[in-house]
């Protein structure tokens, strides 16, 4: 059984269809990359999997770990092990990074019947992960993402992922806006989390990130449909030829 199985997923907003029948299987231990031009529906797919409720799922099924993901609230999906790194991490003034993350971790632990972690025990864990992402300890007591640079925000997402240890991690354009040094740090952080129990879905516009997080599979999403799937070499082909070559395929693809 796959960890994640998406079947014929149709999603829209305000009667405008964005995803037009997505099929996707992701097994534990695999890294998949979903690539596509702007507006192809990549972020919509990521957000629907994280259970954002502003989208209308018009048909299709998503099973995660044998359960109906579409029946879950965002917090339940998170507690079941789904994590999305946001393309645009949200600033939350007035809540410290450390407090936020410990609350999240404890919410998840509580859901799983584990004891809560107190501030003293949380500190070493938090420090260790900060180090992994080469982040300043001062960020701990700053408000969540407030006044963070673009790169700091993206690193903060991966920091959260490292602390929460999800089974299914979805990275929504985590590479966009990152300079090459920050990109390497983020990629190393993600790469360090690869293991046989965990699946990672990397949503990206560019191939560059995939030099550092080499995927097992690459899917090309154009106009709400996956038009090609293949190995890592597909990403290189895209880099070479651009999405234009595949947009034609989207037009000719048979609607599911």
């Amino acid at each position: 059984m796959s960890l994640l199985e998406v079947k014929n997923l149709h999603v829209g907003v305000d009667n405008h269809e964005i995803l037009k029948g997505i099929d996707l299987k992701v097994n534990a231990g695999e890294v998949h990359s979903i690539m596509g031009p702007n507006g192809s529906g990549k972020s919509t797919l990521a957000q629907v999997l994280a259970r954002r409720e502003t989208y209308d799922v018009t048909s299709g099924e998503v099973s995660y770990n044998g359960k109906d993901l579409l029946a879950m609230k965002p917090e339940d999906a998170a507690c079941e092990g789904v994590f999305m790194a946001f393309q645009y991490p949200v600033e939350i003034p007035g809540i410290s990074n450390a407090y936020f993350l410990r609350s999240a971790l404890n919410a998840i632990r509580k859901y799983r019947g584990l004891d809560e972690i107190d501030a003293m025990d949380f500190l070493p864990l938090f420090r260790e992960k900060l180090k992994l992402l080469d982040m300043d300890e001062k960020l701990m007591n700053r408000s969540v993402n407030e006044g963070f640079s673009g790169g700091e925000k993206k690193r903060n997402e991966i920091l959260q992922m490292a602390v929460l240890e999800p089974r299914l991690a979805i990275l929504d354009e985590t590479d966009s806006g990152l300079d090459i040094d920050a990109l390497k740090i983020v990629a190393q952080g993600v790469d360090a989390m690869r293991n046989p129990e965990r699946a990672i879905v990397v949503v990206t516009h560019y191939q560059r990130l995939l030099n550092y997080i080499v995927p097992d599979f690459v899917h090309v999403l154009v106009d709400g449909r996956i038009v090609r799937s293949g190995g890592p070499e597909l990403a290189l082909e895209l880099e070479d030829k651009g999405y234009g070559s595949m947009e034609g395929e989207a037009r000719h693809a048979t609607p599911a």
Binding site: E53, T54, K73, F83, I92, I108
Partner: protein
């Protein structure tokens, strides 16, 4: 829009009875002060919404209710009943029941030499000269509620701090209204005089023990001598039928640094006036406020900051959270007098509306008569952000908790301006409790009746 049919007759009757027996009735200056104030009240009458300063707050319900002076000041209260209202870790708390000082219920711990904490009535009897020096000297005589308070001024707190005295312990004043069969009113009058170079913190805490229509009309005159450093807290958390009108009049000397914190959580109709006059050069004033309302609460914050001397700074920061049909008002008036060059005044009001029926009126009003000044103001109105809510939930935090997180984060902007210590912990506890109830209020269908937007939604108004 309403010109109230005002029950002034009942006040006339009440006043003539009161002034015959009130403490200090034999002191000519006090008799005159009360009489003049009462005449002034009768002349101006209760304000209406035609009055610019009262445009958003209709007090006709107060004007039309035949309130009687509360007389059961000492009845049936035990210290145990007041325990929940004690700030943990403090040594002195003066308790006033329906406006009257009750020594047996008060906590009179040791305060440093140079601090005198007493009641206005006691001090009027024993040391009237000290009272005469300040009482009523700074108030706006044309304000109906201030005039009414002065007319009925008899008891409240009297605090005197000798020059150079540092009081680390906060001095807490607890005002308890106990309700009555008939609508009752009280007019607590506090006089706080801090001499040159002294430091202290004062807390006024308004609570009610029983239901019933109660009208508390309170005035505090705070005289901040040169180079003083003072903090004042006003906490309103009476029950949801109470009317509370309060005025804090601050007279600031040279280089005096005064902080006023207002936390409005309770009451049906609440008006909180904060009126500092920066009379000495180089004074600084921070006015920090938080108001949280639901149901049909009406919470009005009226600031009048007068810059009367050069090189003074003032800051106003008010955050409001309104749910249900609650109505909030922020009216921030800044007057910069002709001589007050190099004034630096800033005003910010941020509001969070949680329901479609909640309402906020926010009004900045700058009157500048000097030419070298810096004045800024701004106001925002927003909702709980859908993005922020989703962000928290996507990390495993349930919806009610996420909502509470965001409300508390918004409120904490005000808390962060309070100095760490027992009072801040106390206020934090009250706010936490209040927001917890608010976040829980509609757990079943939180998204249906509530406003939520995606994206950035702080609309700049000012």
């Amino acid at each position: 829009m309403v010109t109230a049919t005002q029950h002034l007759e009942s006040y006339v009757e009440g006043f003539s009875e009161f002034e015959k027996l009130a403490t200090g009735h034999a002191l000519p200056w006090l008799r005159k002060l009360r009489r003049d104030a009462f005449a002034s009240f009768c002349e101006v009458g209760f304000p209406t919404t035609h009055d610019e300063d009262w445009r958003f707050t209709n007090v006709s319900v107060i004007a039309q209710t035949p309130f009687q002076l509360a007389r059961n000041g000492r009845a049936r209260l035990s210290q145990k009943e007041l325990e929940p209202y004690q700030v943990a870790g403090i040594a002195s708390q003066l308790v006033f029941v329906n406006g009257r000082f009750v020594r047996e219920l008060s906590l009179l711990g040791k305060l440093p030499d140079g601090v005198k904490v007493s009641s206005l009535a006691a001090e009027t009897s024993s040391n009237p000269g000290a009272i005469e020096l300040h009482l009523g000297r700074y108030l706006d005589g044309r304000d109906a509620f201030c005039a009414l308070n002065t007319a009925f001024a008899e008891d409240g707190a009297y605090v005197h701090i000798r020059r150079g005295t540092l009081v680390e312990e906060p001095i807490c004043l607890l005002f308890v209204s106990t309700g009555d069969d008939a609508p009752s009113m009280s007019h607590p009058r506090n006089l706080i005089v801090a001499e040159e170079n002294s430091q202290a913190t004062f807390v006024e805490d308004y609570v009610s023990l029983d239901g019933g229509a109660a009208f508390c009309n309170t005035v505090t005159e705070l005289v901040a001598g040169d180079h003083t450093v003072l903090s004042h807290y006003m906490i309103e958390r009476e029950h949801k039928q109470a009317f509370n009108i309060s005025t804090l009049r601050i007279q600031q000397g040279r280089s005096a640094n005064v902080v006023s914190h207002s936390v409005l959580l309770g009451g049906a109709l609440v008006r909180n006036n904060v009126h500092p006059v920066l009379a000495g050069e180089g004074g600084e004033c921070l006015i920090n406020g938080l108001f949280i309302g639901n149901g049909h609460q009406h919470l009005d914050n009226y600031m009048l900051v007068e810059h009367a001397s050069p090189r003074c700074g003032s800051r106003q920061f008010y955050n409001g959270i309104l749910d249900g049909h609650a109505h909030g008002v922020f009216h921030g008036r800044i007057i910069v007098h002709e001589d007050a060059q190099k004034t630096d005044a800033k005003q910010t009001n941020r509001n969070l509306l949680l329901s479609d029926d909640a309402q906020i009126d926010t009004k900045p009003q700058l009157e500048i008569y000097a030419d070298d000044v810096k004045c800024t103001h701004g106001a925002t109105i927003g909702q709980i952000e859908g993005d922020a809510l989703f962000y928290l939930r996507s990390r495993g935090i349930d919806e009610v908790s996420a909502r509470k997180f965001l409300l508390f984060a918004f409120a904490s902007e005000c808390l962060d301006r309070m100095k760490h210590g027992p009072v801040r912990r106390y206020v934090e506890g009250l706010i936490n409790h209040c927001l917890h109830q608010m976040a829980n209020s509609a757990p079943g269908a939180p998204t249906e009746n509530r406003r939520e937007d995606t994206g950035r939604n702080w609309g700049e108004i000012g």
